[in-house]
Symmetry: C2
Subunit: 701 residues, 2 copies
Amino acid sequence: MTASLQQIFESHSVAVVGASKDSLKAGHQVVRTLLGVGYRGKIYPINRHEKEILGLPCYSSITEIQAPLDLIVISLPGKTVISVMQEAEQRGDVKGVVVLSAGFAETAIPENVELQRQLVEIARRSGIRVFGPNCIGIMNPDLRLVTGFHPGIELVPGNLGYVTQSGALGGALVTQALSQPKPMGFTRFGHVGNMCDVSNVELIEEYGNDPRIAVILVYLEGVKDGRAFMRVASQVAQKKPVLVLKVGRTEIGSKATLSHTGTLAGSDAVYSGAFKQCGVVRANTVHDLIAGAKAISMLTKPRGNRVCILTEAGGMGVISMDEVEVGGVLKLAPMSQATCEKLTALLPPMAMVCKPNGYVDMTAAAMPTEIGHALRLGLSDPNVDMVVLNSIPPTFKPALEVAQAIVAVVKEFDKPVVACFTVNQAMVETRQYLERNGIPTFDSPDYAVRALGILTQATFNSSHSLEDTPVAHHPILERAIAEGRHLLEPEALDFLSDNGVAVMPHVLARTRQDAQRAAKGMNCPVVLKIVSPQIIHKSNVGGVKINLHGEEAVGQGFDRLVNEVEHAAPEANIHGALVVPMAQPGTEFIIGMVRDPQFGPTIMFGMGGVFVELFQDVSFRIAPFDQEVALDMIKETKGYRVLQGMRGEEQKDRASLVDLLVRVSQIAVSYPHIKEIDLNPIRVYENGYSVLDARILLGTE
Amino acid sequence: MTASLQQIFESHSVAVVGASKDSLKAGHQVVRTLLGVGYRGKIYPINRHEKEILGLPCYSSITEIQAPLDLIVISLPGKTVISVMQEAEQRGDVKGVVVLSAGFAETAIPENVELQRQLVEIARRSGIRVFGPNCIGIMNPDLRLVTGFHPGIELVPGNLGYVTQSGALGGALVTQALSQPKPMGFTRFGHVGNMCDVSNVELIEEYGNDPRIAVILVYLEGVKDGRAFMRVASQVAQKKPVLVLKVGRTEIGSKATLSHTGTLAGSDAVYSGAFKQCGVVRANTVHDLIAGAKAISMLTKPRGNRVCILTEAGGMGVISMDEVEVGGVLKLAPMSQATCEKLTALLPPMAMVCKPNGYVDMTAAAMPTEIGHALRLGLSDPNVDMVVLNSIPPTFKPALEVAQAIVAVVKEFDKPVVACFTVNQAMVETRQYLERNGIPTFDSPDYAVRALGILTQATFNSSHSLEDTPVAHHPILERAIAEGRHLLEPEALDFLSDNGVAVMPHVLARTRQDAQRAAKGMNCPVVLKIVSPQIIHKSNVGGVKINLHGEEAVGQGFDRLVNEVEHAAPEANIHGALVVPMAQPGTEFIIGMVRDPQFGPTIMFGMGGVFVELFQDVSFRIAPFDQEVALDMIKETKGYRVLQGMRGEEQKDRASLVDLLVRVSQIAVSYPHIKEIDLNPIRVYENGYSVLDARILLGTE
């Protein structure tokens, strides 16, 4: 029977294989750490050459331990790990193994990769769960269980749950959280290393089911199965916030993740899309992650995103305001005129009230009672969802009195309030007092605002799970697959049309006369496009003739088209010319589908042309998705403003584009044989859209 | 005679007007602070109702003080400030006044603005220099002089010089610098508040001349005279680094700066351009500013921007790598194959060496001597300009031994090395040891990389001063000014041409026959554009006819042009039609000139069309400038890649565009009557460019 992760976190006995008297060895440190933190279970040092280590009797192998054994920590290299696993399998009572040692698949050296494969094989067979290799394993403050060698991490119980792919960064997160004025403790810590067995996704799921964990903090380099991640994360995110620090954001950063844990970071933009889709909140730095976790774990949920900034120092106020706009999540609270008038009457004459609205510089002349009253006025206004209070009590204004005034007022309301106390350590006591009374504090105004931004995102994020979609069949695809080729453009159009995509009238003309007849039927200027399985880039071989008007022009166009293509691509098998009406001018967009190595079918949206290449102004989501997600995708790009109608233009038909995105996402999952879809350009009008070019490539790789 | 700032910083006597026994009053705090820090001069409390304050004899006014008086701190409101200034003027020995009180011009209340005006009037007349109002004044650790009420800022002497427009943020900067493992002290601190007299620019100049100051740190909300700032900053930046934290970056942030000190933040993009132009380095946060100052004040200058990342922890390595790419200043060092091979031989088998090149994950298994050797190998490579060393010594590897190994190696070389020690406070001693030995340390890998980025920018920045350009005259401008109108397009083209801008052949045709003759002379398709002083937006009234080919088409075009405009704009006085050749297709750019309220004539460059509006992909520089600056301007935008030739296109004529930018910048300063220039679009070809539309508006506002 496979052990549960909970069983492993609650191990009552630990064997340390590679325990040593040499204080420079990791095996020594693990034993010393367990003793030092006061582990509430049995510790068995394993070393065939020693009788005792750090006062504990030593065993020559785990087979010698007569009592039950829950967990093994291995700090010996390569092959030894396999033999220990075999012994553990024979014992039958071992739930989990933490492999500290590096030197497995992350090296990409074949024999090391093979060792990791063997390790997994025994794990699967025996039901023993493996953390790592190349990890520091787990921490559980309740049992005072630590499997790594941590320079001084305190085991303070609390409501955070950590999942990390780096020991150092995981340690930095825990340390940051513990060094807050009111230390933020944790329930669980898990470092997954190479993820040969226990994965970050599995830990997220486990923490999701643990009612003591209020916020899950993830240091992420990458996931092995993006769709599994999304299924788990979208469910967990409905129960509690999942905050992710995803690194390997850049090209060279992602090369480093590959070096680190053998994880392919993949496209960062795809991850961003996936996070939004499943309701995971992304933070960019260790400090942001902890700031966000603090706000979430201490505050009530805001009712909206409207923030009032109260400041005693103008400079701090400016930084808060910049961050409100840069963050893009919050907006300034449009307070009522009555609130602004009352604030003006209350505050010292040099105070700047509601310039602009939602922003109040109380100035350093404001006294504790005035600050308290001002906070009350802000919180009383129904247009205020939350407050940032920047305070810099000079020595003549006792900081604690300011804090007491704040606490008294905050307790009257059910709205989030954060405080920023800057300048120096003299504020530590005050900050401790505030945090013990439920008000998170920060030492920098930008963090205060970002923390509320993360709280707001975690509150209003919607989690979309990936719907199961049955595989479908279509004769056009089946024929092309049978013939081992991609779709021809007329096939692509017919296939899209059968799947609910509006396509332009189109006729495959095999002769000049066919083309003329088709054009006449369309009764408008037409475009002729070469149809040949060998020709992908039609324009390069003269394979597109545009704006042909009247019988003569169409006839000549057909002849020129065929002649030029025959000349430029003599090997091409020409099926004829596709006749389509000349599309009206309009703003151009792109919709693409690729199969991402981590996330599978992934849809890209953006404006056409150089926008994609120069500005990366594109958004990604994982297929399939609904209209809400599709609209989010559009809103994420500058194309949204264009669709709203810039420079006096009419609003474009956003709904039709949303519908198109949803349909393409469904096609992507229904037909796994499609490798790539490229609808480019798509012109969007006040009513409807035109797909000017459609490419569908087959192959499942 | 006007007092020098140095005299004020070196005041040997201070009177505190508004001194009080009430510990809640600022005047009490100032005296207490001066006593507390051990000011090395005379303190004179001024209060007509007290005999003594904090043990010091009290005076009823400054006129009663018989001994010399250098400096006055005033913490009383409004009108009192004026009468104290008058008394100071009568004394004749007072060098400076610090006005703590707020409630002057920043309130925008007319009577308060008037008070500030009176204050300035006396200052100018008497030669007494005024800090503020609405400021905490100055600090000078040498004399232990403090004019504000600082909760616990230590007066540690050092080589930093602070200029701030916010007391709180200035305090935060000083505190941050002092809380480094090796505290970073300062020589001068000045908070300028409303800048009624002493400005931030003047302080920068003063610090530039002070040989004890190695780095100038500026918290900036805005400058009153942008050109004066640039003249000073470009000179000072040649002598020592000037680091600026400029806030009010956003629209709402800039509203807050106006509220704070009455400073108009102005266009943040213009500031960015001005900073680059004069060699000032911009930081985005308090922490970045201090990180950069630490690197600069402790390290030698790098010879280039190639960084080698050595890491003991993969996660830290990934974050460093992301930051290298995001920062955009540094690049990974292309180490020689020999270096990579030696590193591989040296390091533990699980180390990941040069994947990618320049990045070495030594893993936690590396021992102090190996870390030292690896560092030596990196520093020995001529392709390495600097090293980031990320260390996370587990408890079994004494951190101090790692540090000692690092210090020994760093001393062998003349290259910048920074260290990042994360996870916890256990590293503080080690970090102190490193910093005392000249190696700056950081607790987060992104800060280590950003610090080197700022050092590199400060090293390689070029400072361009604004050349004085004599005012020029031109008959076309003079005629238009006399007639009280803007330039007509043919005038604009002739004016530009006379100033060295290549313009297309153009003829003003007053009749149909004129137009036909001109077109025939051009021997190519032409464009006709209406010429009328009343018509600015020609296209809206049918005032542009394009692609006219042949006598008949041109004649018809002329008639249609005139008819349509007469119909659409019956009041317009039509001078005729401008005949120009139809321009070849090409990528479109914009060059614009406006007179910025802070910086005066300012040039904008960007790609044409929606790029400007949607992506703000534009750059600004202050006129006049040379080719080097113009090229920087282009490089700053995505247009640079387009000019290099995207998608297989040929490279465009960048040099001609550089030349055009320089010429427009010269025109902007030579002709102060020009209010606005708009060359839009400009098509750039493989050889040369075409200005398709030129608008020049006159008026100096």
